[in-house]
Assembly symmetry: C2
């Protein structure tokens, strides 16, 4: 079986999946999709991912079938169902719901408002894209900082990394990138430091990817 | 046990949960939160939902505990794990991933870009909020229309309603509301008509809710 991740070094949704693959100990081929050059809009990529987004995870099964998975959170859930050890969700129903709510706070509450397509649209409309992004990241992380208190341990939910951490760490990278200081969110800061002790998180870091460039 | 749904008639995320509760046959108390009046920002609501969003589902357990659930997709997953019959996700891992990818296409790919807070921000920046919303709904539904072909039967995934339908139907209501014709998306149109045969969908419709008003 071969896993092939179509992704982009700086895409936070891509980063979530890289982290999860690392936590599961699953090796994968890195296929770079340069979203600054519009490669996500190519015919072949659009057939694979109609939203023209990264990541897409391809799984080449031993029987010759190819599975294509889209949407980072759906991919995280798939990885956890197919390769349950180590788990990316806690056992109890209530804790699972709290974990997913933290992941969704970022996945639907922050990231869509700061991705490349959205920022482009803000600029086209004559808006200040940097102020836009900073505002949504700040208010989103402030809410995350409050909501995570219901469950926080060493990581977002207790003492093992979950899909919430897979979403938080890339979001904090984007925060710094757009001029929002992670230190303004001390609980997030502490979780980030704990995650950075684990190779799955450091190896998935944007700067470590083969398509990373020194500056933009 | 009592279920209490803090929600708003026109909120599509609220509507998703109303549909799922209906499909599961779970009665609930309807607590209206008027987001046009900013009630989601009250101290009591913010303590419950730090993102100042609807819906929040409260479950008052027989033992006196109260569970608070946030983020509509996390709530749908919780309902399906706690009350598995009838299922809102198919059985096979690949079909589950495809279902979640469709739900997320809407949950993270369309809805965040058309919700009240985002539209307000577009207006504040001097942009045309109606053109903004129409653009994201149109491109998002076009992608959904392509992606759903991988799995479509009578509903989004095969012949039973899933969380993908719980997300699609409210999104199509928003489309019409903002001037995007559902008829431009014939597969979505057909799924919508199938859903409207089921009381869980029609009873959850915004216009049927106690806080609905005739016009805005």
């Amino acid at each position: 079986m071969t896993l092939r991740l179509h992704n982009y070094w700086r895409s936070s949704a891509s980063n979530r999946v890289r982290i999860a693959l690392g936590l599961k100990g699953l090796p994968y081929e890195y296929i770079a999709v340069n979203i600054l050059k519009g490669e996500q809009g190519s015919a072949v990529h659009t057939a694979r991912n109609p939203m023209k987004q990264v990541p897409t995870l391809e799984i080449l099964e031993p029987d010759g079938r190819t599975i294509e998975l889209r949407q980072s959170v759906a991919i995280l859930e798939y990885l956890d169902e197919r390769w349950p050890d180590p788990p990316l969700l806690p056992r109890g129903l209530e804790a699972r719901a709290a974990t997913r709510a933290l992941a969704e706070l970022i996945n639907s509450g922050i990231q869509p408002l700061q991705n490349l397509a959205t920022m482009k649209r803000v600029k086209e409309g004559g808006g200040d894209d940097r102020a836009w992004v900073q505002g949504f990241i700040r208010s989103g992380l402030a809410a995350f900082e409050a909501q995570v208190l219901f469950t926080v341990g060493q990581f977002c939910v207790g003492d093992r990394p979950t899909i919430a951490d897979c979403c938080l760490v890339p979001q904090l990278y984007s925060a710094e990138r757009f001029g929002v200081a992670v230190d303004d969110f001390p609980v997030c800061r502490r979780i980030l430091d704990a995650c950075h002790e684990l190779p799955a998180f450091t190896e998935a870091h944007p700067d470590k990817q083969p398509d990373a460039v020194a500056s933009t």
